[in-house]
């Protein structure tokens, strides 16, 4: 392995960016490809596919054997609101393999007693996000019902192109939210990416059932990541 490739791939991983080490197994030469970098020919198609699936493997491309080692940042779930749903969502998300963090400035809600072992930020999203910004491998679920807390985080999530953005609330609540976000300068296309009402439609009623619906919707979004953009790209 080229020492420069090792440094590059580690830097990409530390920065939570998707990257791939491509090794030509016939001569041992390697290089780092970042998601979105142009790669020509059969190899380019194989690289794009591997980024989408997140699966590493050997491919035969342009008459040579290559090993593609994909490094995707681990998916992270940030929940805005230390509410009853979040109490069920936190352990479920962890079991499913997602790192979870909870942000809620209301200190009566965001207590370690209610959320044992969960990274909790009892502060405004405006403050927390300065230190820990969202990225494309972050899912954001806003469940406080309070525009003062949710709106900023939702706009930040759309701006950061988070792979999932969901917001709790009825259709009526959401219609008002759409107006406020447009007032904040968010485009209609971006706002359309918000999942609201939140969660897959499984008839969830209890907070724990809503948590299941939200987690299932997040998993759907993560596993189909890149597919919609690609389809749109072809159509354009």
């Amino acid at each position: 392995m080229d020492p420069l490739s090792l440094k590059k791939i580690n830097a990409e991983r530390k920065a939570r960016r998707a990257a791939m080490l491509v090794t030509d197994l016939s001569d041992g030469r390697d290089r780092v490809v970042r998601e979105g970098d142009a790669v020509a020919g059969d190899l380019g198609a194989a690289v794009a596919k591997a980024f989408r699936s997140g699966r590493s493997g050997t491919v035969e491309a342009d008459g040579r054997p290559f090993f593609l080692n994909v490094h995707l940042p681990p998916a992270r779930l940030v929940v805005i609101g230390a509410v009853h749903i979040s109490q069920a969502l936190a352990p479920m998300a962890r079991i499913a393999g997602y790192d979870i963090e909870i942000i809620d400035p209301r200190t009566a809600f965001a207590t370690p007693e209610r959320f044992p072992g969960v990274p909790l930020f009892a502060d405004w999203p405006e403050t927390v996000l300065k230190e820990k910004p969202f990225d494309a491998y972050t899912a954001v679920a806003a469940v406080t019902h309070d525009p003062k807390i949710d709106d900023f985080a939702l706009k930040a999530a759309l701006d950061a192109e988070c792979f999932y953005v969901g917001a709790l609330g009825s259709r009526k609540t959401h219609a008002k939210r759409v107006e406020r976000l447009m007032g904040m300068g968010t485009s209609e296309a971006a706002i359309a990416r918000i999942h609201s009402p939140i969660g897959l439609d499984i008839g969830a009623a209890s907070p724990a059932e809503i948590a299941v619906a939200v987690l299932a919707e997040i998993i759907t979004a993560f596993r189909s990541r890149g597919l919609t953009q690609e389809a749109e790209g072809h159509a354009a």
Partner: protein, 111 residues
Amino acid sequence: MSDPTLDETRDPLLIAEGWMNEGRDVAIATVVETWGSAPRPVGSHLVIDAEGNFHGSVSGGCVEGAVVAEAVDIIGTGKPRMLEFGVADETAWQVGLSCGGRIRVYVERLG
């Protein structure tokens, strides 16, 4: 922002970079293919230095010893090698995978 889930003390590629910065000779072994039940997924790494110190894994501990021995040799020659491991009695290798799977491991020198 840095990813809090990357553990500098356990991540093989971060350890390899650290060793390199200390001036140590390093080999990197990577699982490039698996068949049947294999203990570690494709892409997993074992990193080895010239003294045979290692971090990470390419199996559940079944073939690491053999990979480390090969790696020390590869650090000397600089020529990458593809190793293949299957169940113990069906292969020319001294060691095998008790799980019954088969793996191919690419071993190369860093630099």
